[in-house]
Symmetry: D2
């Protein structure tokens, strides 16, 4: 018995859906859910499919191997197969702001997120008590100019030791190193407190105030080497007026940040985000 | 050559997607788009699928007949097949308010709506000049207590003469008769100026004002015999404050009404609305 | 030196603003902020005004007494005067859901709410650990058919002992007793998980699912004897689709509930809510 | 008898509100509405006030002159006084897109906008029929490299002849000349089809598509010499997904553009927009 999630992307061509769903049927399974998209400009086909095998002796390894031979290779697909109920290992990096962390851990406790959280890393000790309250190991790894290399090594050690699948930067106020970015390509989720591409970089609420915008936003995106320029997963906005000071914008923004980051986490944990080029296909 | 839209709904069962897409492939076609939903409570399967046949001698009648034999009947499906680029015949019923009518006709002219508009019916003459400006025949059919039966007959005659597929009540301030409702089951779209099920019936903005709500809404739904109780197609809301008078609510509401009604029209015209029970499945 | 917030409501009449601001000026103060509203239907005038007195020997008692004589009584005003930086005493009642509680306490810690929280009351022990983590006394007061009177007495004792100004029902799944409601008229804030007046009463997400709405909402209101019928403080809404199950609606709703309840708390704590009739004037 | 709107902005200082409202009371008037704002950073005071004089022999000229002497000059105010029911003269410039024009004229007909529209100018003839349908004079003024100076002169002649108060660029696809901008400083309202400051310049929907944003926006702002950089009056946003093509974004954007531009027109026509620095104070 197995419940699987299959992700496919490849050049668009005739017969993909029929071939895949027929293959599943031929192996005794049933396709219970399909999301699919064709990027007509780039001629790329994307599919996320859930399927169910009721037979007691279903052999995932064999199915996977046969799928590669019969479908994956002939269609030149990039594809992954996940147990649909598997929980990914998610590490959280924080600094001093607690609103995103509380929001994530509250949902984690409520069973809303399909992840395990093996540990929280921070360059400060301020939020250790929250980790303790939720019974999650907390590692204080200070990052200074001199300790940068050492800090990166400690972070990598932890990530590898706990077989972390993806990293969430929950208002982590440090640049993640290129080594970690390259080891976790499209698997590091950041929350940037502006409506990207407006107000890239530091102090976006100050910049929004100076420009006199009537709406502020927040953006969750995958981290790439270029700052705040990675593929966007989710955004949201809220109205402001001339009467809002910068601290007001910051307070209003916190409500957006925590909601938007948690939405992005859920989407990633359920394998609903495809990255291609510098954009995402999000199956909601 | 043909581009078809296929709508299916039936009891959920194994192999539907594979069988349908394989059938299409076997007949030389390609499935280019799938939307699908399973109502787990009711165990009902819904699918909207677009497919493309490139062969010059493609025979739709034959394909349709074979599909019924090989797929539709065995799976006990309710299904429809439409040419994907076909334009439905859409009649508009109005009274005196012009904002929805202008919005619809503006989009119609811009090529945004996939419909033909054979005529506009009204129980008043006020909006005849708009119909004239957009070169659409306008029929003034007064509705009074005495002329009700006659009015219904004239409306039915027009609907039949122009082979109307669906009717849009663009703030038509009359009750549509049971005969017309039953002839156009789930094919009459109304816009009700409240966030249903709140404020059913007349004067919803007055009721919203009296209750002191902080948000008003509007609802587009299919007309059924019970007033304002039909399956909901689309809704939207907007914030209001204590400083808004009833005329302010009415003015703000107009912006919602015209946008929401036009969205519902687009969804219906593209065969993206399934009705089952008293609810809708909307593939956007 | 003093920074005061003055709330006024009375029959609309000529010269109110001039008289009040002039009185403040004559007593050496400056009006720094005015919000004002006239309900033209009811002919009622509302004003919230902040003023600042720089003199070292400013005497609030004397000012208050003179204001009553010279302004309040002649205009037949209902009015209150608060130190603008005063923190109200806010009690929190909870049951088993933790999302609103975490949200409130997170903001409390961040200094976002202008209140003190002397204690948390619950009819269950489940959330005691959260109270402990935030160092707030937690009282477990079970409510059963037999202990109802006793429970009410214990609640009243606590409310009085800590001179509680207002009560927040953060998903407290019990009916508050008429005695407490009458002692805290328009000072008990509830969060109801629907877009009122739609879906009054129990299980609103189930009702919303059954009706097939495309948007769900949440409402924060003052508690009155009639269930879910009190003056509305704040509402918000979010889109849903046919693909959302009842648990999905509940999860989505949690995000609305915590944000909307916290907004209502802030408005009340800053004396920005007037209640009249069964409606509110909210100065944001 | 008179109903006046008074706009004030000046250095923040003690006693402004008291002095102004008292002055009005002393001249037999009543202040019926106040909106007020202090920019604490810049130390600037803003106020919009409506007042009502019931006496039959009220002399506006005398009141204005005395106000200048007793209040305006001593406080070094910049101030304007308008009859509250006066309609401003609003010119509309269009090119080929009709959605904003239809929206504006529909509201104009419904009495929703407090303006007169003496004429519509366009560099193309395409929308002349709409002007005709609404009985508004239409001037076709082509703009080419060679006729630019001539076109500007014809535009200026019209603006002066009809004593135009402000200009609305309803998707006018030409740059307005510096001469006109300087003659109509902060009195030309543009609609830019992006969420400024993101996507300044041409083809913002293409740029939004390329960046893969999950929300698009639109911005109404006063025109200044620097392109798309003037003070923002109003903005709004709407969600999009990976499945939306560029034409889809354009169609969705049209709905935002027409609503947002019309909101900005209403605010300006009711003297609810203050410009200072490069920002606005908007009293709604």
């Amino acid at each position: 018995m197995a419940h699987l999630t299959l992700l496919i992307h490849c050049k668009d061509q005739k017969g993909i859906i029929a071939s895949v769903t027929n293959f599943i049927l031929d192996h005794g399974g049933n396709t219970t859910y399909i999301d699919q998209h064709v990027d007509a400009q780039e001629n790329v086909f994307f599919m996320r499919l859930e399927c169910f095998f009721e037979q007691a002796d279903f052999n995932v390894e064999l199915f996977t191997k046969t799928f590669a031979q019969d479908i994956g290779n002939p269609f030149e697909m990039q594809w992954q197969l996940y147990p649909a109920t598997q929980k990914l290992q998610m590490a959280i990096f924080v600094s001093k702001y607690d609103h995103c962390l509380y929001d994530i851990l509250g949902r984690y406790n409520a069973g809303e997120l399909q992840v395990n959280i093996p540990f929280i890393v921070s360059n400060h000790k301020d939020l250790a008590h929250i980790a303790a309250n939720f019974d999650i190991p907390f590692y204080h790894i200070p990052v200074t100019k001199d300790t940068k290399a050492l800090a990166e090594q400690r972070q990598l050690d932890l990530l590898r030791e706990f077989k972390v699948d993806f990293i969430v930067l929950a208002r982590y106020m440090q640049i993640v190193t290129p080594t970690i970015i390259s080891e976790y390509t499209h698997r590091i989720i950041n929350i940037h407190h502006s409506f990207l591409p407006a107000f890239v970089g530091a102090k976006p609420y100050h910049a929004a105030f100076a420009r006199g915008v009537k709406i502020i936003g927040t953006t969750s995106h995958y981290v790439t080497e270029e700052l705040d320029a990675g593929p966007i997963i989710e955004q949201d906005t809220i109205r402001v007026t001339h009467s809002h000071t910068i601290p007001d914008l910051i307070a209003k923004g916190r409500d957006l940040e925590k909601i938007v980051l948690s939405r992005a986490i859920k989407l990633h944990a359920q394998h609903k985000c495809f990255v291609y080029g510098n954009k995402t296909v999000i199956f909601t």
